[in-house]
């Protein structure tokens, strides 16, 4: 595919206040070409507002967001530079999918031939002349994606693209995103469910209440493992492990140790003559790390 050069997305110190409420608070991160970057956070964390500021739909209170140094409104060919699918509701219900795409192809100076092309890519050809008002959520998501692909852009920004898709659709989306990144495009997708994007993203940026709480690879996020250990003399064992430089917590009638691996723990216990009752390495699930990071005691529901 001969799309325009993929550019790097840069958010620098971007903030948005709605009245007295700080929705996005001094976010700084970059999104590189050739990988899928997940933009994660619970509902209401400020993901959509951040993306809308990137796209010039919402004016930031301070800071900036650019594509290879240019703000969205400065792009000469916006739809051919950045493809966007924001939510599955921005359609006139009385207009057909084909006409919906033709309207924006005209606005962006994109050849009408592309319309049939992207309809085929997302599998909507046979429904293309039906009014969008009768579409299912999954079909709307696909039409949103078709709009994003219209200009064959090097950068894709997708807000909750898996929302409303059935399991088969989610798998299709996963393969699709992978193929786009493998082409060398810049792909940024947001989600409030880590497990939904876990298999498609390479890098993650996690925000909570408008602030960044983690940026890095999924592997870096996953290094959270610890040793669960117990002995008859639990206090004695804890002292030994602490002196050896471990971080020790008593959780669920057992010691949870980080900073020392299971083999070392065993050796330390042996040399201190403390017989063990339990020794195991426990991996923390990604989802647990995620929930820990964004941890809000009362989790909100599905509605954005």
């Amino acid at each position: 595919m001969a799309f325009r050069a993929a550019s790097t997305i840069e958010f620098s110190g971007i903030s948005k206040r709605f009245g007295g409420v700080v929705a996005v608070d001094d976010l700084t991160f970059t999104v590189e070409p050739g990988v899928v970057t997940g933009f994660l956070g619970p509902n209401g964390a400020g993901k959509t507002t951040t993306l809308r500021m990137l796209l010039g739909l919402v004016r930031p209170t301070s800071g900036s967001a650019t594509f290879g140094g240019s703000a969205y409104h400065e792009l000469a060919q916006p739809l051919s530079t950045v493809g966007t699918a924001l939510e599955a509701s921005s359609f006139h219900p009385g207009r057909s999918a084909r006409n919906h795409l033709r309207v924006y192809a005209a606005a962006a100076g994109i050849d009408d031939g592309r319309v049939a092309n992207v309809l085929k890519t997302v599998g909507l050809v046979e429904f293309a002349d039906r009014k969008v008002g009768g579409y299912s959520m999954g079909m709307r998501q696909r039409l949103g994606l078709a709009f994003a692909l219209l200009g064959d852009p090097g950068v894709l920004v997708l807000d909750e693209p898996s929302n409303g898709l059935d399991p088969e659709g989610i798998r299709w989306m996963r393969g699709f995103l992978r193929a786009l990144a493998d082409d060398g495009r810049t792909v940024l997708i947001s989600s409030h469910v880590l497990s939904e994007v876990q298999q498609s993203v390479d890098r993650v940026v996690i925000i909570r209440r408008g602030r960044s709480v983690f940026q890095g690879s999924l592997d870096a996020l996953e290094t959270g493992s610890h040793v669960a250990v117990d002995a008859a003399d639990r206090a004695g064992l804890a002292r030994v492990l602490l002196t050896a430089g471990g971080v020790v917590d008593e959780v669920g009638g057992m010691l949870r140790v980080t900073g020392i691996d299971a083999i070392q723990v065993g050796e330390l216990a042996l040399s201190a003559h403390l017989p063990l009752r339990h020794l195991a390495t426990e991996h923390v699930g990604l989802e647990d790390v995620f929930l820990d990071l964004v941890g809000d005691p009362e989790r909100s529901g599905e509605t954005p």
Partner: protein
């Protein structure tokens, strides 16, 4: 800009709203023109023989009949303009629209251009209705339908122009009042209730008439040069603008609304 205009044209023609409104306009205007032509055409002679009755000479009859297009039909392009702009807010299509054309003023300007054209089409269709039904009935009742007169054709051209400007006024109102229901209520309340009362009240004294002639409906009637409202109410005839002044007032109203909308709701965050 050409791209934005083409996009707006596709938006307008790819939903059914525009032609439904158009059909109602033609039916409504045609019916009213036929009714008035039949009524006045038949009554003309009797009125002439009755002392104190409003006098209608045969020459003033065709303009009254044909101008029903604007006199009662101007609300249709006005509503079309309102709908075109407010449906972008209502269906949240401003998001893809501003993504495709990030320079927002271009979108609004393209809408005004396309609506001016659509309003002109409404004008032509309305004229086909009012002349198409009014003229044969005038002829049947023994009056001169004046179809071959240059005056009539100039009148029809001014009707088309007025209808075109009304659609632009509607777009300006839509940009200023993005809530679709609120905008339609305001437009209907003003055109069907507030303005007729104001125009009537203004016609009582000379100084109020000087103010009242700047009301949009009065300006439109001045631009067209005929309306059965003004012709049949002698007092209101005391103060009217020249036709070109009426046109300028109407254009002024349209651009004021559009500019005010462009600086307020059109610039807001799209969430």
């Amino acid at each position: 800009m050409i791209r934005a205009i083409r996009s707006e044209y596709r938006k307008l023609t790819s939903t059914s709203g525009w032609w439904i409104l158009l059909l109602i306009l033609v039916g409504y205007v045609g019916f009213t023109a036929a009714l008035l032509a039949g009524l006045f055409g038949a009554l003309g002679e009797q009125l002439a023989g009755t002392q104190g009755a409003p006098q209608l000479d045969s020459e003033s009859l065709p303009p009254i009949i044909y101008s029903t297009t604007t006199a009662i039909g101007y609300v249709f392009p006005l509503i079309l303009g309102v709908l075109v702009v407010t449906s972008e807010f209502r269906h949240q299509t401003l998001t893809p629209t501003f993504l495709a054309t990030p320079r927002r003023w271009r979108v609004l300007a393209a809408k005004l251009v396309v609506l001016f054209g659509a309003g002109a089409v409404y004008g032509v269709a309305g004229v086909l209705g009012s002349v198409g039904l009014g003229a044969p009935i005038l002829a049947l009742t023994g009056n001169d339908a004046a179809i071959d007169s240059g005056e009539t054709w100039l009148l029809l051209a001014r009707i088309v122009l007025a209808m075109a400007i009304w659609a632009v006024v509607g777009a300006g109102i839509g940009a200023l009042i993005p809530n679709q229901i609120a905008a339609i209520v305001v437009v209907l309340a003003f055109t069907q209730f507030v303005e007729p009362i104001l125009r009537f009240a203004a016609s009582i004294w000379a100084w109020t008439a000087d103010v009242g002639k700047f009301l949009p409906g009065a300006a439109s009637d001045a631009l067209v040069g005929a309306s059965f409202y003004t012709t049949l109410s002698p007092a209101a005839a005391t103060a009217t603008l020249e036709w070109w002044q009426g046109g300028l007032v109407l254009i002024g109203i349209a651009t004021t609304f559009a500019a005010a909308g462009a600086m307020t709701s059109w610039r807001k965050d799209v969430t």
